[in-house]
Every structure is written in structure tokens, then in C-alpha cells.
């Protein structure tokens, strides 16, 4: 990838549900190795934007380019195959399966075969390694417990591990921190920093502004489906439009 072509480039993306415009002509560019944070009040279209980019929802207009190729309207599995992975805000693991078995499904993906060239070892072992990376303690048996019995903190880590299992070049994290305690967030932040260190490009949708501002290179603010500001964290929060969006709609 040359530095000139952004890894992800979105132009004029548009989505309406019935009469409601969820995302209206949003442009965005993500350079390779960058961490972009997307924030905005509730209902501002953040999750819809992610759904549009990752192919789960088809846009009414605009285009999405990933690694310079047009992926608008492609089904999710094709997009994943090209190296984009996402997490869901509402985590729904396979409840009956042990936590590590949850990773078998992504590890069966054609993407893995493409990246590793068919030379991958035991899937169970890879899964356990991945879980250790996201903070499932190796010496406890938590990775073997049914996913349904895990607390929220572990479920979010599991969700992250599922995305990481796909060896993505671009990782989209949809409100990974929501529903977590301060301590839990603090323990996940280093994992994300490590991913960045490995050269992954990351887009984070967040409500937890403080933690996000510490790790993000750039912040984009959405409101009513429109981009109202973009830039460094300090500049963005100083902008009048953003203040109004946040203070106006959420009253603090």
C-alpha cells in the first residue's frame, strides 16, 4: 500500500430508512496505520455508518473504497475477505460454546487461508493464543467456559478477539467500551495500542471520549447523520458545532 491511497475512503455515503435519513453524504478517509475515532450523540448515525462500510446495510448512494477498490454493496463476507473486520456493539457470542470455540468460526474463514497460505496449525491452539492476547488469563479456565456464562468485560474481549482472528488490515470497533467499567476499559486500551503498534489501521466508534482522545490520531464528529467536524481531538471539541450538538441534545 502506498501512502497516497487511503486504506478506506468513503464518499457521499447516503442511507435513508423510510423517510428518515440515517447517514447523509458522509465523506471520510482513513490512512494506513491511523486510528480514527468517530463520535457523536446517540442516534447520530455512527453504527449505521459502520454497517454501511462493512456491507451489512446497503447504502442508497455514495461509494466506499477499501484499499482503492470499490466495495459498495458487496456482501460482508467479501469485504472481510479483503481484510476489513468489525465488532458489534451488541455482543452476541455462541452462548453454548466454550469461549475459545467461538473463535473457530472466524478461523475457518477463507481470509485465514489467504493470509497464512494454508500453513496454519491447530485452530484450537490459535484460538487460545488469541484469547490470551485479549486478556483471557491462560492459567485460569475462563477460555473454556461457555461464552454465555462470561461477564460483559470478557464478552467484549471475545468480540475483539473474533475480529482479530480474521487478521484484518482495517479493524472497525463499534463501541467496544460501552458497558464496561473504568478498570476494564483501562485493561483493553493497551491491547488496542499494541494492535496499532503492529501496524493495524483502526476506526473506533466511541462514547467514552476521554479514553478515545488519548489513543486516537484524529476525531470525526457525526450529528444527525452528517459530519460536523473533523480533526485533532482538541480542535474538534473546541468547535462550536460540536459543543452545540453535545450540549444541545444531551444537556451535558
Amino acid at each position: 500500500m502506498s501512502g497516497a491511497v487511503p486504506i478506506l475512503s468513503v464518499q457521499g455515503l447516503l442511507k435513508t430508512f423510510g423517510g428518515v435519513t440515517a447517514v447523509s453524504s458522509v465523506d471520510l478517509r482513513v490512512k494506513k496505520g491511523e486510528l480514527l475515532g468517530i463520535i457523536g450523540p446517540n442516534g447520530s448515525g455512527k453504527t449505521t455508518l459502520v454497517n454501511l462500510i462493512s456491507g451489512f446495510v446497503k447504502p442508497n448512494g455514495g461509494e466506499v473504497l477499501f484499499k482503492g477498490k470499490d466495495i459498495t454493496g458487496l456482501p460482508p463476507y467479501r469485504i472481510v475477505g479483503m481484510g476489513m473486520a468489525r465488532t458489534f456493539q451488541m455482543v452476541k457470542p455462541f452462548y453454548q460454546l466454550p469461549a475459545f470455540k467461538n473463535l473457530i468460526v472466524p478461523l475457518c474463514s477463507p481470509r485465514i487461508k489467504a493470509v497464512l497460505g494454508g500453513r496454519y496449525g491447530d485452530r484450537d491452539a490459535i484460538a487460545l493464543d488469541l484469547l490470551e492476547e485479549v486478556g483471557f488469563e491462560r492459567d485460569s479456565n475462563v477460555a473454556y467456559k461457555p461464552a454465555g456464562s462470561l461477564p460483559q468485560g470478557y464478552l467484549k474481549r471475545l468480540e475483539l478477539a473474533k475480529a482479530m482472528a480474521l487478521r484484518p488490515d482495517l479493524l472497525i470497533l463499534d463501541e467496544l467500551f460501552s458497558g464496561l467499567s473504568l478498570a476494564e476499559v483501562a485493561s483493553i486500551v493497551p491491547i488496542i495500542e499494541k494492535l496499532r503498534f503492529q501496524g493495524k489501521t483502526i476506526v473506533m466508534i466511541e462514547h467514552r471520549l476521554k479514553e478515545l482522545f488519548r489513543i486516537a490520531d484524529r476525531i470525526m464528529v457525526l450529528n444527525f447523520g452528517m459530519k460536523i467536524a473533523e480533526g485533532a481531538a482538541g480542535d474538534v471539541m473546541a468547535s462550536e458545532a460540536v459543543k452545540k450538538a453535545y450540549l444541545g441534545s444531551e444537556a451535558g
Binding site: N51, F56, V57, K58
Partner: protein, 290 residues
């Protein structure tokens, strides 16, 4: 010939709409697919027959009682069976299907077979339109279809219960937070669907005999219309009924009556290939569920 095709096609369309309406209404409101629908249909037919011939009640009373009894049966089925497995599509389908089978075959076991099982026409006689004769019963089918469609429209748009029906259909969880009892509404929807099945039965059955096979046929026709029109959409049901109804009549008149059933099959095949969720279907494919 042309006028006859037009008129009888319309009768056939109304008949199909009548048959499909109840199944569709129940599904549209509570998401319950009532596969015992056909059984309820013949149940009400036999109930009316028994009231009429064994108890010797006046026919109008029999009809009302049959409809009321079927509605009660529907509510009962909801409370005894469906409620316990609500939300598990597999179990709902299997349980209602099994129950429908049991009811229908029970009638066969008790020997409810033969030509004596007929219901009288509401009004005897026929009328000529141009050179086409049409009996009053078929006109009753048309009127019933129009009346019930109108009733459903008024009911769901202007009454409290009807509005609650629509609210539940659109968003069960939000409706729950507003204090609506979704169980109660679902039971009512089963009752309503069953009452519609019964109403269809007393209007349609006088055209032939009441037979167990008729129950299967009704379920088959209702499903075919729903598949073509799109589950849960009243407009879709009407459009599909008109399409299939006319296509069937044309086939029967210009080709051979034997081929009538092929029409539904072909209609299903075409719809499945072009728009699998039906003409007016908003059956959720994956994207809308996120």
C-alpha cells in the same frame, strides 16, 4: 365467455383472499404462523353443521356460534400451546402443525366423510349479469371478502385494540414498554385469525362439501397466497388473490380445470425467483435486523 371469466375470476379472487386473510392477520400481528389454520377452518364448518343438523338451531345462530367457537378455539390454542413456545419459530410451527393434523384426522376418524356434510346457502337463487348466471352464494363470497377487508382496515386504524395490534406488529418491545400486554394481544390475534377462518368457512363451504381434505387445501391456498403476496401485508394478500384468482379462472376456462392448481405453483415459483419475500413482502432479510 369473457364476461364469465371476469366475474368468476373475481369470485375466485375474493374466495382466495377470504381464505388467506385470517392466516395473514395472525402472522402480521403477533408473528405466530398458525399452521392449524386449515383445521380451524373445517372445525367451524363441522361445528356449524352439527349445530344445524343435530341441534336443529336456526342457521344464522349456527353461523354465529361456529364463528365464536372457532375464535375461542384459536385463543385456547394460543394459551395452551403457542404461549409456551413463543419466539421459538421451530416449535411454534411444529406444534401448530401437529395440532392441526390431530384435529383434522380426528374428524376423519369419527367418520365425518361424505356428501351429506354440506352447509346450506345463505340465500338461494341466482342472478343474471348479461348472459352469465351467478348464484347469490358467490355474490355473498364477494361481499364477505369486501366487508371483512373493510372491517380489518377500520379495525386496525380506528379502534384501540386495532391500534394496539399494529403497535405490537411494528415493534413489540417498544409496545411492551408502553404497558401493552403482548400475550393478550397475540391471543386476540389468534382468536381474530380463527374467527376469520370460520367466517370464510361459512361463506365458502356451501359451494361444496365439508371435507377433511378441504382443511389441507385451505392451508395450502392460504400459504400460496401469502407466499406470493408477501407475509403480513394485507395489500399483498389482496393483490396476490386477484392475480392467482384470475390466472386460475382463465386456466380453467381456456385450458382445462385440472391445470388450475398449477397456477399457484407457477406463481410461487416465479415470485420466489424474482422477489422471494413476495410482491409486497417486507419479510426481513438480514440487513434490516441489525
Amino acid at each position: 365467455m369473457l364476461l364469465g371469466t371476469l366475474i368468476y375470476g373475481f369470485v375466485n379472487s375474493c374466495l382466495l383472499a377470504l381464505l388467506a386473510m385470517g392466516f395473514n392477520l395472525t402472522f402480521g400481528i403477533s408473528g405466530v404462523a398458525n399452521f392449524s389454520y386449515g383445521a380451524i377452518y373445517i372445525f367451524s364448518g363441522f361445528a356449524a353443521w352439527i349445530f344445524l343438523n343435530s341441534a336443529g338451531l336456526p342457521y344464522a345462530l349456527c353461523v354465529i356460534m361456529a364463528i365464536g367457537l372457532s375464535a375461542t378455539l384459536g385463543v385456547l390454542i394460543y394459551h395452551v400451546v403457542i404461549k409456551r413456545v413463543k419466539g421459538l419459530a421451530l416449535s411454534e410451527v411444529m406444534a401448530t402443525f401437529g395440532l392441526g393434523l390431530a384435529i383434522m384426522e380426528l374428524f376423519r376418524y369419527f367418520d365425518f366423510v361424505g356428501f351429506k356434510y354440506t352447509l346450506p346457502n345463505l340465500i338461494e337463487g341466482s342472478v343474471a349479469i348479461g348472459d352469465v348466471y351467478i348464484d347469490y352464494q358467490r355474490i355473498a363470497v364477494i361481499l364477505a371478502a369486501i366487508a371483512l377487508t373493510g372491517f380489518i382496515y377500520v379495525f386496525t386504524h380506528y379502534t384501540r385494540t386495532g391500534l394496539a395490534f399494529r403497535a405490537i406488529a411494528q415493534d413489540e418491545r417498544t409496545a411492551l414498554t408502553f404497558g401493552m400486554d403482548s400475550d393478550h394481544i397475540a391471543a386476540l390475534s389468534m382468536g381474530f385469525g380463527s374467527a376469520l377462518a370460520a367466517a370464510a368457512a361459512v361463506v365458502v363451504l356451501p359451494l361444496g362439501t365439508i371435507a377433511v381434505e378441504g382443511g389441507y387445501d385451505v392451508l395450502l391456498n392460504a400459504l400460496a397466497v401469502c407466499i406470493v403476496g408477501g407475509l403480513g401485508s394485507t395489500v399483498g394478500i389482496l393483490v396476490a388473490s386477484v392475480l392467482i384468482g384470475y390466472a386460475q379462472t382463465i386456466t380453467a376456462n381456456y385450458l382445462e380445470p385440472h391445470w388450475m392448481m398449477l397456477v399457484s405453483l407457477i406463481a410461487i415459483a416465479i415470485v420466489l425467483c424474482i422477489k422471494p419475500s413476495g410482491i409486497f413482502g417486507h419479510q426481513k432479510e438480514l440487513e434490516e435486523r441489525i
